[in-house]
């Protein structure tokens, strides 16, 4: 059985706002073909203020689909349409004290129903562009379609690269075979994970230090830009990163939000480091800000 939170159980056993809503003026019907779940969200919107005065749902789906629907109606009641549209699937999952990775799609379905219902109220046509694949990485809830898209978009060749770009496989590592299968499906073959020939002369031991190509200013800007590009990925999981200090090859960063104290902290730092090594063309070490105190 799934490890459902108390909140999920509560909303499943005693769902809020279930059943038809006769005065509804915005209705969204969506389904997830992946698991056959389907949801109808009904909104009663005040035409003057665009405030959602009431919200009801009917759901054909598993316990967490019903709980996610119930949570969604509770979250959006009293909000304006624009406010409600800002509700993310993560907000729904957070409201329920989390969902198992396999069940995150239930919260995605909730968000899609909301978009569809608002579009219906506004007389627009809503089309869904989100395709869902088989769940590959259970630690970070990453599916095959997302991995495939990322491999194509970035020309990824190795499992390590996939982990750096998507986080898939960065946890327990049990899904590495599945990631390799996706790589083979996209690239037609599996490239070796051997480290690339070291391009940076700095990496060659025994040689006299070579002048860095970048000025200090350029180098720090590059570090900042690289971190900036990584932030949306971390923010998606309610975390964040900021640059604290650059001391030669040691780069100190602060992980904040959900990243702080996360059991995956070292994997996250590893991923950031791989990105920085790639961007700077030199070997650097990324350390948590706590290490600065000991430095």
């Amino acid at each position: 059985m799934w490890d459902y939170s108390e909140k999920v159980r509560e909303h499943f056993f005693n769902p809020k706002n279930s059943g038809p809503l006769d005065e509804a003026n915005g209705i969204g019907d969506v389904g997830s073909i992946k698991c056959g779940d389907a949801l109808r969200l009904m909104l009663k919107v005040n035409p003057e203020s665009e405030v959602i005065e009431d919200a009801h749902f009917q759901t054909f789906g598993c316990g967490s689909a019903i709980a996610s629907s119930s949570a969604l109606t509770e979250i959006i009641k009293g909000k304006t349409l624009d406010e409600a549209l800002k509700v993310s699937n993560q907000d729904i999952a957070d409201y329920l004290d989390g969902l198992p990775p396999e069940k995150m799609h239930c919260s995605v379905m909730g968000r899609e129903a909301l978009q569809a219902a608002v579009a219906n109220y506004r007389g627009e046509v809503w089309t869904d562009d989100h395709e869902e694949g088989d769940l590959v990485c259970k630690c970070f809830a990453i599916d095959a379609v997302m991995i495939e898209d990322t491999i194509r978009a970035n020309g990824l060749k190795t499992r390590e690269e996939v982990t750096n770009y998507t986080k898939a496989g960065g946890g327990c590592s049990a899904c590495h075979e599945k990631i390799e299968d996706v790589l083979i499906a996209v690239n037609g073959r599996l490239y070796s994970s051997e480290p690339k020939p070291k391009k940076s002369p700095l990496a060659v031991p025994g040689e006299s230090p070579v002048k860095p190509k970048l000025t200090n200013y350029q180098r720090i800007r590059k570090i900042e830009d690289t971190l900036e590009a990584l932030r949306p990925m971390l923010q998606r999981d309610h975390g964040d990163v900021t640059l604290v200090e650059v001391d030669g090859k040691k780069i100190y960063v602060a992980l904040t939000g959900a990243c702080q104290g996360c059991s995956m902290e070292s994997a996250t730092l590893g991923g950031i480091q791989a990105k920085l090594v790639e961007a700077l063309g030199e070997l650097v070490q990324v350390l948590p800000v706590a290490a600065l105190a000991h430095a």
Binding site: P15, G36, W126, E131
Partner: protein, 402 residues
């Protein structure tokens, strides 16, 4: 109230007599059966007795045809991989679309290794087409693997006939019989079945013990090589306590075989009739005239299985869903899909699998508990309105699927 266990196709309770027989093998009888000294010799004797009991339940001609393994999955993998190794020029496997993942996932993997896998389709009652099967039998086939009984619907397959057909063409025949052993009479010596898998925990023995039956003179290649245990066909120190337990369980299964097909069957039929009389838009899946006596697979249309299970669990009733939503995958059951059961019914399929420990009083409690649960969930369902499915086309629920 005492909980009711009706998920015996998933696993069974160890019979108390099984546990009692096992206990000495954790304490004073700890010896290694291969040792010369008396500690080992007594264990060796116990293993021989247990082997004889398994042989008797399966109707095998020789006790040396019984190979103990760790589980049904190991037995299945050993059988198929052995055939492919023993007949390297034959690169085709024939099986069905409704096998257990122990077979199907292995076959998917074999395809990646460039083997050819034919998966026989099934009709809406879960039956294979023997003409299609016959047309696939040729000298490129290394092995046929067909389950004796389906775990979700209980539908039986004509494995004895199919084994004859394979035998005529000189093809090895394996059957995954983990659901059938102990529930239907089996007499292997009078069949052409070459290999058969069984799993202890499906018949009131503990988990972690399985058997692969290997007919004498079958070309065989072990999966695990090492010591001489199991005559070199499955290396690794014998799980002596569990083997002894399985022996007792096989004895008990033979004793209860008649009751399984009369008493348990009657309880199952009572359960089905009782539920269908009270819940509309529900039906039984599988081949009603040719199935296991203990299994009831009931589809409740327009609701989803996991919700039913959670509410049943609240009432102290343990069952499982045909929808794999509960087992880590989100796809509806591959068995229901293969049978062409519509999404809205496949997702609402619940499997009640009984055993000799269930009582009429328990069956009646389940019959009373199910209707209000279905009604409660249908109230939440967008496909349902008032007393029946939505029929008004204006209101009909046609979600945009992602």
């Amino acid at each position: 109230m005492k909980p009711i266990y009706m998920d015996n196709n998933a696993t069974t309770a160890c019979d108390p007599a099984v546990v009692e027989a096992m206990l000495p093998f954790f304490t004073e009888q700890f010896g290694n059966a291969s040792s010369i000294h008396s500690f080992g010799a007594q264990v060796g004797k116990a293993l021989k007795e247990a082997r004889g009991k398994v042989q008797a339940l399966l109707g095998a001609a020789h006790d040396s045809e019984i190979v103990f393994t760790s589980c049904g999955t190991e037995s299945d993998a050993t059988a198929i991989l052995s055939a492919l190794k023993a007949y390297p020029e034959r690169r085709t496997v024939i099986t069905t679309v409704v096998e257990h993942p122990a077979i199907l996932t292995l076959c998917d993997y074999l395809e990646k290794e460039d083997y050819i896998v034919h998966r026989l389709r099934v009709d809406k009652k879960g039956r294979v087409d023997l003409d299609e099967y016959k047309s696939l039998l040729n000298d490129r086939v290394a092995i046929v693997s067909i389950m004796w009984a389906n775990n979700e619907t209980g539908t039986l397959f004509p494995v004895e006939e199919m084994a004859e057909m394979a035998h005529e063409k000189g093809i090895l025949f394996h059957t995954d019989a983990v659901q059938a052993v102990g529930k239907v009479p089996i007499d292997l010596k009078n069949t052409k079945i070459d290999l058969l898998s069984l799993s202890g925990h499906k018949l009131h023995a503990p988990k972690g013990i399985g058997v692969l039956y290997v007919r004498r003179n079958t070309r065989f290649r072990p999966l695990l090589r090492g010591g001489h245990q199991e005559r070199g066909r499955r290396a690794g120190t014998e799980n002596s306590a569990s083997i002894v337990g399985l022996g007792v369980a096989c004895d008990l299964a033979a004793q209860h075989m008649d009751a399984e097909n009369t008493v348990v069957k009657k309880l199952r039929d009572r359960l089905e009739r009782g539920i269908l009389a009270k819940v509309k838009n529900a039906f039984v899946n599988g081949d009603l005239h040719y199935r296991l006596p203990n299994t009831a697979s009931i589809a409740f249309e327009y609701v989803e299985g996991e919700g039913i299970l959670l509410l049943l669990n609240k009432e102290g009733i343990a069952a499982s869903s045909g929808s794999a939503c509960t087992s880590g995958s989100l796809e509806p059951s591959h068995v229901m899909r293969a049978m062409g059961i519509p999404y809205t019914a496949a997702h609402g399929t619940i499997r009640f699998s009984l055993s000799r420990y269930n009582t009429e009083e328990e069956v009646d409690r389940v019959i009373a508990a199910v209707p209000p649960i279905i009604a409660q969930l249908r109230k939440l369902s967008p496909y349902w309105s008032g007393e029946g499915p939505v029929t008004n086309l204006e209101q009909a629920f046609q979600p945009e699927y992602a």
